[in-house]
């Protein structure tokens, strides 16, 4: 295939421009609803649960990931649900651009722009919530309630901060949670391209079925075939076999296996699903 048939910068910018122009109201409404959800959550936390731990780093990061997963998966499904109706699919498929350019447009808005805008919205609402919490649950408030414990001042969990202490992702597990988000969101984009009706429900069923199959494989086939023991908490690191005397024999996997799996989970799963999306666009018929 000639390179210009795969990607042409002028055509790509035209596809991006067209997508923005036609869907800008939908994007605006979507992000507005995300902002309302986050602000509503913070108001709920401050007004209903309201205590001096309301804006703890744990609470802030929990909301960050809950919001990210829900809105990310919904955006993946809803924003591209248009491609499931016959007339829109016709427009999409007959648009003079390559499948790669069409996919790039989907990923540009659905993954990149979504992630940037979500972080901005989160930062603004979280910043406001933390400042308000600081004012409400002040040392004076603590004194008036007769709380003797030292006053704890919480910082804004800034998702864009590169400072390890202030970044929302500084804890290792949070980074894994972020890495897992992109493949899962990509599954919903793939679902929207694959299923012609009720794509969101079908994708959820599919993801859970996959998870169920994986757990069944692990618990019913792999573990029974191994000596009695337990997996190390860190996946793919070691297997612990206790002997009769209560001693433990640790069978450690080579470090590169865990590193390779971690690398694949963080950086390869999502691109692999994007490749599947590309072929789905290529093979899609009406």
């Amino acid at each position: 295939m000639i390179m210009s048939e795969l990607i042409n910068f002028k055509r790509l910018t035209a596809v991006l421009g067209k997508n923005w122009f036609e869907y800008r109201k939908t994007y605006f409404l979507f992000f507005l609803s995300v902002a309302i959800f986050l602000a509503g959550w913070f108001i709920f936390v401050l007004v209903v649960i309201g205590n001096r731990f309301s804006m703890s780093p744990m609470d802030q990061s929990s909301l960050y990931f809950i919001g990210l997963y829900i809105s990310g998966c919904l955006s993946g499904s809803f924003l591209y649900q248009d491609y499931t109706t016959k007339p829109r699919t016709q427009n999409f498929l007959t648009l003079p651009a390559s499948a790669f350019e069409k996919l790039s447009s989907i990923l540009f808005y659905g993954v990149l722009i979504f992630f940037i805008v979500y972080n901005l919205i989160y930062f603004v609402t979280d910043w406001a919530a933390v400042k308000i919490a600081g004012k409400i649950f002040s040392p004076a408030w603590q004194q008036s309630r007769g709380i003797a414990e030292p006053y704890m001042r919480f910082e804004v969990a800034n998702p864009m901060s590169l400072n390890a202490e202030r970044s929302i992702f500084y804890a290792g597990d949070n980074l894994d949670l972020l890495a897992a988000f992109f493949p899962i969101q990509s599954c919903f984009i793939l679902g929207a391209l694959y299923f012609s009706k009720n794509s969101i429900v079908k994708t959820i069923i599919f993801v859970f079925a996959l998870l169920f199959a994986f757990l069944t494989l692990e618990t019913r086939i792999l573990l029974p075939s191994m000596p009695m023991g337990t997996m190390e908490a860190k996946v793919f690191s070691a297997y612990i076999i206790p002997d009769a005397d209560g001693n433990e024999m640790i069978v450690a996997h080579p470090a590169w296996i865990r590193d390779a799996v971690a690398f694949a989970a963080r950086f390869l799963f999502a691109p692999a699903i994007w490749v599947a999306c590309y072929f789905r666009i290529k093979e899609k018929q009406i």
Binding site: G17, T94, P96
Partner: protein
């Protein structure tokens, strides 16, 4: 350059296509050449839309081969798609003004002519400032037809273009399609409303469940067949097809004197559907 040669712009060889196990088109052989406006006729469910979808690359052949402007449509290459415009029966347009639609869509069609687009819209009496989602179905269809013609693609596919249009609208569409036609283009118009294609097409293709039952230029049909109203009972005996009308009978018969006459598309269609073997022998033997 298809108009300079005799090579078909669309070449269909033993094409079978369908949905799952159900084959809608079976072993179809056809060619569509530049410089013609084809009328693709057939009953509902005979595969007209499927054929257009397949030519546009929206469906893939199950068997046989299909070549459109030397491309394999199923690959949907940008250079192929920018030289083809498909106006489906069901369509959806974005909620933008016509001006904005032109701005963001015309960039994909290198031969798009904005002056022609303005001209067509003027003929349809539609303002470019109108919002597409506020227009009626018929008006939106007129905008899409105007855009498709102004795109100046070599191949223009129209699926039931007159559906949803009023009498004046149908006449306007016919005029504009005929006006926007050049020798470099090939236009394929599918319809089950035969009358709507009158004074527009110059070549007719009729398909049924068994395949192509008539594929001839109208000029040749006019040489071979005569269409007339007869009050003479003896004419009926020699006719290929006849049907009673208010006074006398409308008949299709062999054109014995070879004088060209006006083709009644509806009668031709009915005659072909009722007497496919006889019509085949008239045109192919």
């Amino acid at each position: 350059m298809y108009y300079l040669t005799n090579t078909p712009m669309v070449q269909i060889v033993h094409l079978s296509c369908g949905y799952g196990k159900k084959q809608v088109l079976k072993d179809l052989n056809l060619g569509f050449r530049a410089g013609n406006i084809y009328g693709l006729l057939g009953k509902n469910g005979t595969g007209k839309t499927t054929l257009l979808n397949t030519i546009a690359g929206l469906r893939f052949p199950q068997e046989g081969s299909l070549e459109v402007m030397k491309y394999s449509p199923g690959k949907r290459q940008p250079s192929f798609l920018e030289d083809l415009f498909f106006i489906p029966e069901e369509f959806q347009l974005p909620p933008v003004t016509i001006e904005q639609y032109q701005k963001y869509h015309s960039v994909f069609y290198p031969k798009f002519n904005p002056y022609e687009f303005d001209e067509y819209l003027k003929l349809f009496e539609i303002s470019k400032r109108e919002k597409l989602h506020e227009l009626s179905y018929g008006q939106r269809k007129k905008v899409l037809i105007s855009f498709g013609l102004a795109a100046n693609t070599s191949l223009l596919l129209l699926d039931e273009p007159t559906n949803g249009l009023d009498i004046v609208g149908k006449s306007q569409v016919r005029k504009i399609i005929a006006g926007g036609f050049t020798d470099q283009k090939c236009i394929i118009v599918s319809s089950h409303q035969v009358k709507d294609l009158e004074n527009l097409i110059d070549h007719i293709v009729i398909i049924d469940e068994s395949g192509v039952i008539l594929n001839q230029p109208l000029s040749f049909i006019a040489e071979k067949l005569s269409f007339k109203i007869s009050f003479d009972q003896r004419d009926l005996e020699w006719s290929i097809y006849h049907e009673p009308i208010l006074r006398g009978h409308a008949i299709v018969a062999l054109n014995a004197d070879g004088m060209e006459n006006k083709i009644d598309l509806e009668l031709l269609y009915k005659a072909t559907v009722r007497q496919p073997k006889l019509m085949h022998s008239i045109f192919n033997d």
